[in-house]
C-alpha cells in the first residue's frame, strides 16, 4: 500500500523515507559529537571534544571528521586551534569553524585550510558566547553574540565586513534566545529578553515586537526560522510552541507540549510544520495544533531543508517531508483524480487486464492533466521503483494524446537520472527534486567538482548536453588545478597528462592552472603548462613573475602585442646592467627595434649609442645630423657634422660624406658672408644662398659659390633668371639671355617676365622664341589675341583650341574671331 507510511497531520500527510543506512554505523555515537550538516544534502562534520566528556583530564586535542550524507568518511583532522563555539557550512560547502575569540577558520570538505578572518577586536577581547551561521542575501553570513551581549554580523564570508547591530535596551544577562532574520536584503537579529522580543539592525535601530499570545510567557527559550524566513517558531519556558509570521504580526498557532524541558532542536519541516526534538523523541506540530510523535532508538540530529527535515541518527539517515499534493492526489485511497486513474490504468495495462481501457475512458478528456500529474509526482518520489511506475503511467497516458509536448517528460527523466545518480550512497548527496531546482544544475556540477568527482561531473555535462565552455572544459580546468597539486608525480608526467586531457579544449585557461602550480612552488611545471596558454597577455606576466624574462620576451614578441614587449623590455632594463641588457636584446630584432623606438622618443642619445654599438654607421650618422640642427653655435654644428661625416665614411657612403662636407663648407661661407654683407644667409640652401646674393647684386660671391659647389649649368640658368627677375634687373637679364644659347630655352625667360608681370620685357623674348612655342608663351603673359593670331599664322587648329580654352566670358569677341579662324583653316584643307 502506497499510503502505509503516511502520517496524517490535520488534513495533510507527512511521510518519513529512509535515505541511507549510515556508513558509520557502529562506529559513531552521535551523542558524543557536535554535529554540523550542510543543507542540500551536503557533507556532515562531526566534532568530538574528549576533554569535556572524559572523566579524567586528558590532553588529547579534539578531532574533526567530515562525512558524506551517507556516512562515509571524507576526511579527518586534529583540531589544534582555539575553542570552537560553532561549526557550520557555507553555501560553497566550506566548513566554517568559529572560535570563542571570534576567529573564523574556513576549510574545504577535505579539511584543507582555506583562510581565516576575525569578527572584530571586541569579539576577540571579550569572547564569543554564541554564534549563528545563516544564509544571507550575499551568501553565507555569520553573527556572533559576545559576552557583553552585543551582536556582530557579517553578511558574506567571502567579503567579511563586520557590522555591529544595535543594542537591546536594558539587556543585563545573556538573551534567552536569538536568531538572525533575513528579509528585504537586510540582516537583522531577533533577540529575546524575557518576554520581550527586539528586532535590531546595523543602523542602530531597534524595534520591540511582542506577539499577541493567549498564554502567559515569561521567557522565549528557543526560536527557529523557516527556510524562506517568512515564519517563526518560538518555544516558551512553559512548553508552548508559538507559530507566527516572522514579523510577529500574526500568531497562527499556540501548541502546548506540556513539557518544560527545552528541546534540543527546534526547526521547520518545509513550511508546513515545526519539528521539536528531545533526545530520542520527536514531535511534529502542524499549524492547526495537530501533531505526530516519533520515537527513535538513539538520539538523532535534525537538518532543516527547504522542503523537509533530514534526520541523522547512528544507523540511519531519513527524510521527513509533507506528502506533496500531487502525490496525495494519485495515491490517496479512493482518489478520483485523473492522475490516480491513469496510474491505475497503467498498472492494469501492464498486468494485461482490459480494465486499463475502462480507466482511460473515465479520464479521456482529462488525460493531459493526468499525465502531468504523474510526471510531477515522479519527481517527488525518492524510491526509484515508484519513480519508474509513475513515469511508466505517464508514457502510457501520452500514447493517447496526439499533440502532447514531450519536453516536460524528457526533462523530468533527465533530472531524475541526475538526482538518482548523485543520491547513490557512494556519492552521498541526498538532494530532492525541489532542492535541485532551487540550487540549479550548474551549482550541482560545481559541488561534484568540489568533491573531486570530475569524471561524474563531465559525464553529467555530456548527458545534459551542456556546452563545453560552461561544462566539460571548466571541469577539466578544475581537474588540472587539482592535478598539479599532487606532489607525488613529476612535472613531466603531470604536464603531459594535463595537456593530453585538455588538449585544445576551448575556454580552458592554462594560465590559471599554471599559477596554481606556481603557488605550489612548481615553477618548471608552471612553465611547461604556460606553453599551452594561447593568450599571451596572460602568459607573459606570469612568466615574468617566475623571472623567466627571456622566455616572456620571446612570447611577447610572438604575440605581436608591442605593449607586452615593452612590459618585459622595461623590466629587463631595470633589472640588468645596460651592457648586458643590450647584449640580451640584440638577437631579437623586434625587441631591439622597439627599444630603439622607445629611445627615439625618450632618449635620443641612447639610440645613438646603440647604433654605435651595432656598427650601424649610417643610422648613427643620421642621429648626429638630426642632432646638429639643435646646435646653436656654428663651431658645434660643424663639429657634429664632422662626426657624422666620419660615420658616413665608415659606412662607405661617399655621397653622404661629400654632401656633409659641402654643408660644413657652405655653413662657413654663409657665416663669412653674413659678416661681410651684414645680411642673414644662415640655414639657406646653396641654391637659395646664391639666389639671395644675385638679388642683392653680389654677383662675385655668387659666382664663387657656383664654381666651388659645381652648380649645374641648367639649374644655374633658372636660378639666375629668377633672381634677376626678382631684382628687376631686366637689362642684365637680357644680357644673360644673349651670353650663349640658353639651355632652358627662351620660353623660360618669358616665364620669368610673366611671373613679375613685365609684359614689355616678355615681348622682347617672344620675338626670339621659336615659332611653335610662341602661342604658349603669349598665353602665358595673357596676350590671347596675339596668341590667336600667332596660332592662325601657324595654321594650327590645335593651338587655336588651346587659346579657346583660356577664353572666359569676357572674351566674347575673341572667341568669335577664333571660331572664324578655325573655319577658315578648316576651309583651306
Amino acid at each position: 500500500m502506497a499510503t502505509a507510511d503516511w502520517n496524517p497531520l490535520g488534513d495533510v500527510y507527512f511521510k518519513k523515507n529512509e535515505l541511507y543506512a549510515m556508513g558509520w554505523s557502529d562506529m559513531i555515537d552521535l551523542d558524543k559529537f557536535t554535529v554540523a550538516a550542510a543543507p542540500y544534502g551536503g557533507p556532515i562534520a562531526l566534532y568530538r571534544d574528549d576533554s569535556k566528556t572524559a572523566r579524567v583530564q586528558v590532553s588529547t586535542k579534539p578531532i574533526i571528521t567530515v562525512f558524506t550524507a551517507a556516512g562515509n568518511q571524507i576526511s579527518q583532522m586534529r583540531w589544534s586551534s582555539g575553542q570552537v563555539v560553532k561549526m557550520g557550512w557555507s553555501n560553497t560547502e566550506d566548513l566554517l569553524c568559529v572560535q570563542d575569540d571570534g576567529m573564523v577558520l574556513s576549510y574545504d570538505m577535505f579539511l584543507n585550510f582555506k583562510r581565516m578572518f576575525g569578527m572584530g577586536q571586541e569579539a576577540k577581547d571579550v569572547k564569543v558566547l554564541d554564534c549563528e551561521i545563516f544564509n544571507s542575501f550575499q551568501g553565507t553570513g555569520i553573527a556572533v553574540l559576545t559576552s557583553t551581549y552585543r551582536i556582530f554580523i557579517i553578511n558574506s564570508v567571502d567579503d567579511p565586513r563586520i557590522r555591529r547591530l544595535a543594542e537591546v535596551p536594558g539587556l543585563q544577562s545573556a538573551p534567552s534566545s536569538w536568531a538572525v532574520l533575513n528579509l528585504d536584503r537586510q540582516s537583522r537579529a531577533l533577540v529575546a529578553k524575557g518576554n520581550e522580543l527586539f528586532l535590531i539592525d546595523h543602523g542602530g535601530q531597534y524595534q520591540n515586537q511582542t506577539p499577541q499570545t493567549n498564554t502567559e510567557v515569561k521567557e522565549y527559550i528557543k526560536m527557529a526560522l523557516s527556510f524562506n524566513n517568512k515564519f517563526l517558531a518560538l518555544y516558551t519556558d512553559s512548553g508552548v510552541i508559538l507559530i507566527c509570521s516572522s514579523d510577529l504580526q500574526k500568531v497562527y498557532c499556540e501548541f502546548n507540549t506540556k513539557t518544560e524541558a527545552c528541546p534540543h532542536q527546534l526547526m521547520w519541516c518545509g513550511i508546513g510544520a515545526v519539528v521539536a526534538m528531545w533526545g530520542t523523541l520527536m514531535v511534529v506540530v502542524g499549524p492547526q495544533k495537530d501533531w505526530i510523535r516519533y520515537n527513535f532508538e538513539s538520539p538523532a540530529h535534525l537538518v532543516q531543508e527547504m522542503d523537509g527535515t533530514r534526520i541523522i541518527s547512528n544507523y540511519q539517515h531519513e527524510f521527513l517531508h509533507k506528502v506533496p499534493e500531487v502525490t496525495e492526489h494519485i495515491f490517496k485511497i479512493g482518489s478520483m483524480e485523473p492522475g490516480a486513474m491513469l496510474y491505475e490504468a497503467s498498472r492494469e495495462f501492464h498486468k494485461g487486464s482490459q480494465k486499463a481501457d475502462e480507466y482511460i475512458r473515465m479520464i479521456k478528456d482529462k488525460l493531459e492533466v493526468a499525465v502531468n500529474q504523474c510526471i510531477k509526482a515522479a519527481g517527488f518520489e525518492i524510491e526509484t521503483d515508484k519513480q519508474k511506475a509513475l513515469l511508466r503511467a505517464a508514457t502510457f497516458g501520452k500514447c493517447f494524446l496526439t499533440d502532447y509536448s514531450p519536453e516536460t517528460f524528457v526533462n523530468m527523466c533527465q533530472m531524475l537520472r541526475v538526482i538518482n545518480q548523485v543520491r547513490h550512497h557512494k556519492i552521498g548527496i541526498p538532494i530532492t527534486y525541489t532542492q535541485l531546482e532551487h540550487l540549479s544544475m550548474a551549482v550541482m556540477i560545481d559541488r561534484l567538482v568540489l568533491r573531486k568527482m570530475f569524471h561524474l561531473a563531465i559525464k553529467l555535462c555530456q548527458y545534459l548536453k551542456i556546452p563545453d565552455q560552461e561544462g566539460a572544459s571548466r571541469i577539466l580546468a578544475h581537474w588540472a588545478c587539482y592535478k598539479v597539486k599532487q606532489k607525488n608525480e613529476d612535472d613531466e608526467t603531470i604536464a603531459r597528462a594535463v595537456a593530453q586531457k585538455l588538449g585544445d579544449t576551448p575556454g580552458v585557461s592554462y594560465c590559471d592552472i599554471a599559477s596554481q602550480a606556481l603557488e605550489c612552488g612548481r615553477t618548471d611545471l608552471a612553465i611547461r603548462l604556460l606553453d599551452f596558454e594561447p593568450r599571451a597577455a596572460q602568459q607573459v606576466p606570469l612568466l615574468m613573475k617566475m623571472s623567466k624574462d627571456q622566455l616572456a620576451l620571446s612570447k611577447a614578441i610572438e604575440s605581436g602585442d608591442t605593449d607586452l614587449v615593452y612590459t618585459v623590455l622595461l623590466k629587463l632594463k631595470n633589472d640588468m646592467k645596460d651592457g648586458d641588457f643590450f647584449m640580451a636584446i640584440r638577437n631579437m630584432p623586434i625587441a631591439y627595434s622597439l627599444f630603439i623606438q622607445y629611445c627615439r622618443h625618450q632618449n635620443p642619445q641612447m639610440m645613438e649609442d646603440l647604433y654605435y654599438q651595432e656598427d650601424n654607421f649610417v643610422e648613427e650618422a643620421n642621429c648626429k645630423v638630426v642632432k646638429s640642427f639643435d646646435d646653436e653655435r656654428l663651431e658645434d654644428r660643424c663639429e657634429t657634422l664632422k662626426q657624422a661625416m666620419n660615420c658616413y665614411a665608415r659606412a662607405k657612403n661617399e655621397f653622404a660624406v661629400k654632401q656633409t662636407d659641402d654643408q660644413i663648407k657652405l655653413l662657413k661661407y654663409q657665416r663669412r658672408m653674413e659678416e661681410e654683407f651684414n645680411r642673414p644667409y644662415m640655414d639657406l640652401s646653396l641654391h637659395q644662398t646664391i639666389y639671395r646674393l644675385i638679388v642683392e647684386n653680389s654677383h662675385k660671391p655668387a659666382e664663387q659659390l657656383r664654381k666651388e659647389f659645381k652648380v649645374p649649368e641648367r639649374r644655374y640658368w633658372w636660378l639666375r633668371m629668377h633672381a634677376l627677375g626678382e631684382a628687376g634687373e631686366w637689362a642684365e637679364l637680357e644680357r644673360f639671355s644673349k651670353s650663349k644659347k640658353p639651355p632652358v630655352g627662351l620660353e623660360a625667360f618669358v616665364e620669368v617676365c610673366s611671373k613679375h608681370k613685365n609684359v614689355a620685357e616678355a615681348m622682347k623674348y617672344i620675338a626670339r622664341v621659336q615659332q611653335d612655342q610662341k602661342v604658349k608663351c603669349l598665353l602665358k603673359i595673357g596676350q590671347k589675341k596675339s596668341a590667336a593670331e600667332a596660332a592662325f599664322e601657324n595654321h594650327s587648329e590645335e593651338e587655336l583650341n588651346l587659346v579657346l580654352q583660356k577664353c572666359g566670358a569676357a572674351d566674347k569677341q575673341l572667341v568669335e574671331n577664333i571660331r572664324a579662324m578655325k573655319q577658315q583653316l578648316g576651309g583651306r584643307r
Partner: protein, 613 residues
Amino acid sequence: MSAAGHLSTGKINLSLLRDFYRRELLESLDRCSGTKALVWDDALTGAFGLIAEYSLLKEHEVEKMFPLRSSGLPPSNVQNIIFVTRPKLSLMEQIAQNLLQEEQKGGFRKDYHIIFVPRRSLLCDKKLKEMGVYGTITNFEEFQLSLIPFDSDLLSMEMESSFRECYLENDFTSMHYAAQSLMTLQALYGIIPNICGKGDCAKHIVDMMLRMRRELGGREPQITPQIDNLLILDRNVDLLTPLLSQLTYEGLIDEMFGINNTSVKLPPEKFQTGNQQQEDPQGVSSEPKKVILNSLDELYADLRDKNFNAVGSIVSKKAKVITAEFDERHTAKTVSEMKQFVSKLPHLQQVRASLSTHTSIAELVKEATDTDEFMDSLRCQQEFINGVDTDKIHPYIEDCMGRQEPINKVLRLVCIQSFCNNGLKPKVLDHYKREIIQTYGYEHMVTLMNIEKAGLLRPHGNRSYPAIRKSMRLIVDDVNEQNPHDIAYVYSGFAPLSARLVQYYARPGWRSITEVLNLLPGPTVEEIQQIPVALRKRRSSIGSTHSSTGEQKVTLVFFLGGVTYAEIAALRFLAQQDDGGTDYLIATTKVISGTSFLKSIAEELSAVKMNPF
C-alpha cells in the same frame, strides 16, 4: 540617425559598427559621474565627430570641450576632466603639464580621467609616473576606436604614421591595432572564412588574427559570416600608385586641399553668393569653407569617383534636370500638382545647394589642373609609366628644381622615375639627390635616406616593372574617361596595380598570377578560417566566386599603409561592374595622397636659430 544614414546603405551595414563605438564611448563616459569637460588630442577630434555628435555628448553631461595644449586648461567648474588621447608619449607630457598646472591653481577639486584610444599603453603609464601625475588620475579607460566608418564602404584607422613605423622603424604596433580592429569587425559581422594577403605586414596581421581567434578559445559570436573574403595588401606591394597624380574628382580634391575625416576646408572666395554678400556687410569672410564629403550628398556620390574630365558634363546635365524640375512650378496648374511640387521642394533645394557647392569646387580644381605646372607634371608622369626616357636625368625634374617648385613634387617625380626604371643608375640617382640637397637644403638628407630605406628610391635592380606592367595590363591606351570600361580611367590610362590585384583576386584568382606575385615584395599568405557548419552560408555553387544565384560576395580589402581615393574609386568601379560578382568593403590605416604619404616618411628638420656669437 540621419547623420549616419549613409553608413547603412552598403551591403555590410556599417552603422552597426558606429553604434558599437557609440555604446562603448558612452559607457566610458558614464563611468565617471557628474559634469565633465573633455580635453581632446587634436588628431582624434575629426574621427570622434564621425562617431558621436556634440549634442549626444551633452546628454551625458559633457559641458565643455578643450583642445589639449601644453599651455594648460581654461578655467571651468566641471567635476570631471577627461583627457581623450592616443597613447603617445609626447601627449602624455602635455597632459602631465596640464595636471601640474591645475594642481598649482588649486581651487575647486576635480577628478581627472584619461581615455586612451585605442589602447592604454605601459609606456604611457610609465611616462605619467615619471612626471609625477600618475596618482592624480582617478581612472584610466580604453576606448577601442580603430576602424572609423567613413562611408558605406570605407573604413579608416586614420593612423598616418603606420607605414613609417612599420617600414622605417620596425615598430608594428599599428599592425596589432589593425589586427584587433579586424577582430572587432569579425565580432560584429562574423568570422571571415577566406583570408588572403600579400606583403610582410599582411603576413604579420594574418598570424596575429589567427592567434587572437585561438585566444578567444571558442568564445566568438555565433553569426553567419557576412563578409566572405578578406584581402590584405601591403602598401609596399604597390608604392608607385600613390605617387601618381590622382585624376578622379575626390582624388584631386584630396591632393589639392586635403580631405580629413571626410571633410575638406576650401578657400571661401568661390562660395560667396550675391545674397550672402548682402547679408554679410563685412563682405568676404576669411573663414575657410568646410564641406562634408560623403555619399549622403547624392550628387557627390555620383561625382567623386569620376575622372575629373567627366565631372563638368555631369554637373551641367544635373543642373539642367534640376532647372527643369524647378520650372515645373510654372506648368503646375491644379492644386494637387502644386502640392506635389511643394513636396519635392526640400529635396530639390538640397540638390540645388549641392550643385552650387560642387560647381564651385570643380572650378577650384579646374583652376589648378589647367596650370602648366599640373599639365607638365602629368605629362612627365605619363612618360615615365610608359617607360619613356626613364633612364636619364629628366629635364623637367631639373626645371622643377630650378624653379624651386615644392620639394614634394620633385620627390614624387624622382620616385616615379625610379620605379618605372626598376631603380635609377647610380649616377642619375646621385645627381638627383645632390640637386635636391643643393636646392632645398641639407636638412633633407635624412628624408632622402628614409625614402631610400622605404624602397621608394633605389639604385638599379631587377627589371620587374615592365613585366608587371605587361602582365597586369597597367597601361590601358584607349580609356574612355566619360564612360570607362576599365579601372585605368582613375589615372587616365594607368591602372593601379593594387586595384588590379584585387580584380584578379576576384577573377580568375591569384593562382593565375603567381609569377607576378613572386616579383612583388613580401610573402603571399592564404588562410581558411573554419566556421561551424551551422553558420555557413548556403550556396548553390561552391568554389566559384561567381555564384549562379547572382548573389554578390563581399570582399573586405584592407590596405596597410594607406590607400588613395583614386584606388578606392577603382574598387568601387569594379564592384559596380555587372560581371564583377563581388562587392568591396575597403579598410585602410589611412586615406593618403602622394603628398601626405611622402610627408609621413620625411624627417621634419629645422635648425635652431644660430647664436651669432
